[in-house]
Symmetry: D2
Subunit: 303 residues, 4 copies
């Protein structure tokens, strides 16, 4: 049994903490919302009413927070982990945040003798629920060695990708590829539809060759079934694309395709698709070419 501080009990964190509890660890759970703390406490976690309480006596602290500012507050803030480190002096940030901010925090923590790993995940809520997350880990080997047994409770694939910050960078790369691959499918389906193709047949052909992708295999059916609700949310993907864009800007790398895909995701969110799954991006193409099922009230072009 390991004593673990766990900070951030949202849609993802709640499930992850639950697995740690079930695996028999002592989980000192904290969240800004007291009701989230109460809920997990009823399942066997120790309610921690502050970051300091979560960290107290723990071997390591795990953070699973919405974005960079929240992690910075929890780590560097006056009531944060730098001031109140866990006994084991190890922090594993599983949030998806800025790699640059990650490196900056890790450097500050290092000066106080605290080790930080970044360990963002992919797999979404269903991966969290099923303990099947992929974890992309940056940071020192020995820190990872200590965290590994705990991480293995939550994830099915753990990959050590480099120095601290590398996990976040790999995650950013992953997300931009997903977005562009999805956009590619949208464009093929939009063209095929306008040309009168049978879209199920089109998808089958594309899956059979060089155009095949995970997104086509897994999201294609949802797109064609117009099932927008399942899967990874548009607004969360947008956050990840923003992180990728900021990183690219900092490093001076022009990523025109990512920039364009981000623009389409913004358009999807502007149309109320933020809470829908990625596949709802196809609805943007519905609107682009005015083929929405509900007529928009505008006359079609006379050609």
């Amino acid at each position: 049994m390991t004593s673990i501080g766990f900070i951030g009990l949202g849609v993802m964190g709640r499930e992850m903490a639950r697995h740690l509890v079930r695996a028999g660890h002592r989980v000192q759970a904290h969240d800004a919302r007291p009701e989230a703390v109460d809920e997990i406490a009823r399942e066997g976690a120790v309610a921690a009413h502050s970051v300091a309480e979560a960290a107290e006596g723990a071997e390591l602290v795990i953070t699973m927070l919405p974005d960079t500012p929240q992690v910075e507050e929890v780590v560097l803030g006056p009531a944060g982990l730098l001031a109140h480190p866990p006994a084991g002096r190890l922090l594993v940030d599983m949030s998806t945040i800025s790699p640059t901010a990650t490196r900056r925090m890790a450097a500050e923590l290092a000066r106080a003798g605290i080790v930080m790993l970044d360990a963002p995940v992919s797999g979404g809520p269903s991966g969290a629920k099923g303990a099947k997350l992929s974890v992309m880990i940056g940071g020192p080997e020995d820190g990872l060695a200590r965290a590994r047994p705990v991480l293995e409770v939550m994830g099915s694939t753990l990959v050590h990708v480099g120095e601290v910050g590398a996990g976040q960078t790999v995650k950013a790369c992953n997300q931009l590829v997903c977005a562009m691959n999805l956009q590619a499918i949208c464009e093929a389906l939009a063209l095929g539809r306008a040309a009168g193709l049978d879209l199920d047949k089109l998808r089958d052909v594309l899956l059979g060759g060089a155009a095949s992708s995970w997104m086509l295999q897994n999201l294609g059916p949802l797109m064609l079934a117009k099932d927008a609700s399942a899967g990874f949310r548009i607004d969360l993907k947008l956050k990840d694309l923003r992180l990728a864009g900021e990183l690219a800007f900092e490093l001076g790398v022009p990523l025109p395709g990512t920039a364009l895909a981000t623009s389409l995701y913004l358009e999807a969110r502007a149309h109320g698709e933020g809470a829908n799954g990625n596949q709802a991006l196809f609805r943007v193409y519905d609107r682009l070419s005015n083929q929405a099922e509900e007529p928009s009230g505008q006359p079609p072009p006379a050609r």
Copy 2:
């Protein structure tokens, strides 16, 4: 044994005709370059010195030509197939050309009682050599039923995707997805490189999840090994992207991602990568972010 007219003995057509000869068919082979006709004749084909000779007495004629104008000339030109149809009144165009021009030609042929199928392929020269082409077929069922045994000599996957022109449309969709999926990989690798990631490790992680694609699986290694020579040529892909763009324009479908990818392929060609494989697109990103390891040493394109 079927008597087959075969017109177009380029890199692809030569291999395809060869398979038909070996399978025991009578192949009346024609090409604008007499030496290409001589070559295949030495392997057992019947040398045809004109379109009319290729078609004479044949059950069907197969065309495998560079682009729309060549097919239009062979079909509708004064010495073409409309004037000199095969005995079986069946034409199978396996070139990659405009779906709109295809439908127009099919309509004209239909008025003369001639059936046209469009049957563009994917798989490239190696697929042609190995008789492992994927064939996307548009046109009437009965025409396909007659052509099928012949097509099966050349391809391993035959998919009937709809009316005449549908084969070309599916091919266009396929090619635009490939181009965008490849661009996605380029952007991830460019970002990862600038951030100092181990690119082989990055590729492994991407392959393990939602960012996975055929292109990443198959072209990723060539990109990382900087092997630009293998695979489907940039300039041929550009032709396909042009066809997709023209179709999108005709149908009034905005495809911003395809347009952007096409722009990058043009840039690759402008830098002398036209004869290289698709994976050479990554070199554009080398230049975008000024990380080329050495001057490419390739001659600029002769235009």
Copy 3:
């Protein structure tokens, strides 16, 4: 008085021919629509019932036709100008068509001793009506010298920009700049609106400095007044952008901005704006960010 063949009596051509009639020239006018010929004949033109009749005995022939295929038919077709050249052996094509096709036709005409100028115009229907067209002319000096007095009846600015085809190329450049400058305004207004700025004030500031442009000066007010009807039509601009895109592709020049702008114009046309003026492009941005005045029925994003 010059004897002039005039072929193409559409929205533009009708006005241009009218000016030539009023200036006292003998105008042998032809159009595929007999009623268009009758109409101009009532105003003093000589009705020509064929291309040959329009050309017969004329010093020069002017063509003002919708697109490349129509000009090719009138020039190279069996009943065309190559077979029935004007007495003065001079052709001035004022249509907006492919520069490549222009050069090809000019070369064929040259072999028959006929001189061709390309002389596309800008200024639109109101410029045609007011004889205030700008004319961009490509072709030999001596041909232009002969055509100049006639062209000056229709246009207020004549610029000789180079060899034959150069007029069309300059026109293509002009149109792509207009499209991108307009898109720039759309983006600024969309951002300003979302931020709650007073858009008239925004426009004033932009006009006062480095962001100023003809488009902002002239179309800005129409955009803000939501007056979509006036001005150069979206679908005609799309034709010009297609010509620019094709030329760029042929020359191997990547033009990502032009490609993106074209995509937005396609989107505008898909939403029924084809017959509206360029400024209707702003409505695309209305939709992009879901700020259309008529609610689309979709709930706004909860942010």
Copy 4:
């Protein structure tokens, strides 16, 4: 004579402070670099060795700093203006920074009874030198009334564009339009050059009609003369485009053209053009289409 705190003596601020000194005001000048303070003190300013000293007894404080974090530090930091406000309780931030951060700071200052105006400028170093800046001002009327006489010493055009933050928003709009208008010119010149046009003639024609813009009038000659050194720097424009992109993201407004232009500016910077003027963007198009006349000979950016 007004007593003015002036914080930020960089390329712009130095010139602006100088004008205030010459106009007879008491200028308490501060900069993080003591040598910059010494320099302006020799010209008659009062050397201020801290923010507090700059503010002490002043009617208003002007800030002219590189980016958002510097302004936040000077305003909200422990030794900042919130803790050490000027006697007149008025702050005029003339830096170009985030409008969102501006509003946040203004709200905090308001709670302490301090009024903040945002007043970013356009016109660049030459405008600062010549006291010919355009100033875009957001904030309350009465604050502006008090600041106006001081602002008029530095700028020739003062426009009040709305509430606090509006000045920054207008500036962002201005900068994105400039970037896209410039990109438009680059694309026209790249196409024209590839087609063999006389580029000076092309520019003349474009200037004469609907494609005309301030950028074409003013930067066109520098582009054609390949004079990259003059004018507003690429890397400063990139900062402004980043601010525009962040604002668009926050407001959920898709700006695909701005995103693409930003990508091109990043490419320019990656090739060592960061310190060159905007017109150096054309060199990106040189590389896009491989028409660079000679290696640029510029050192790569030190990152």
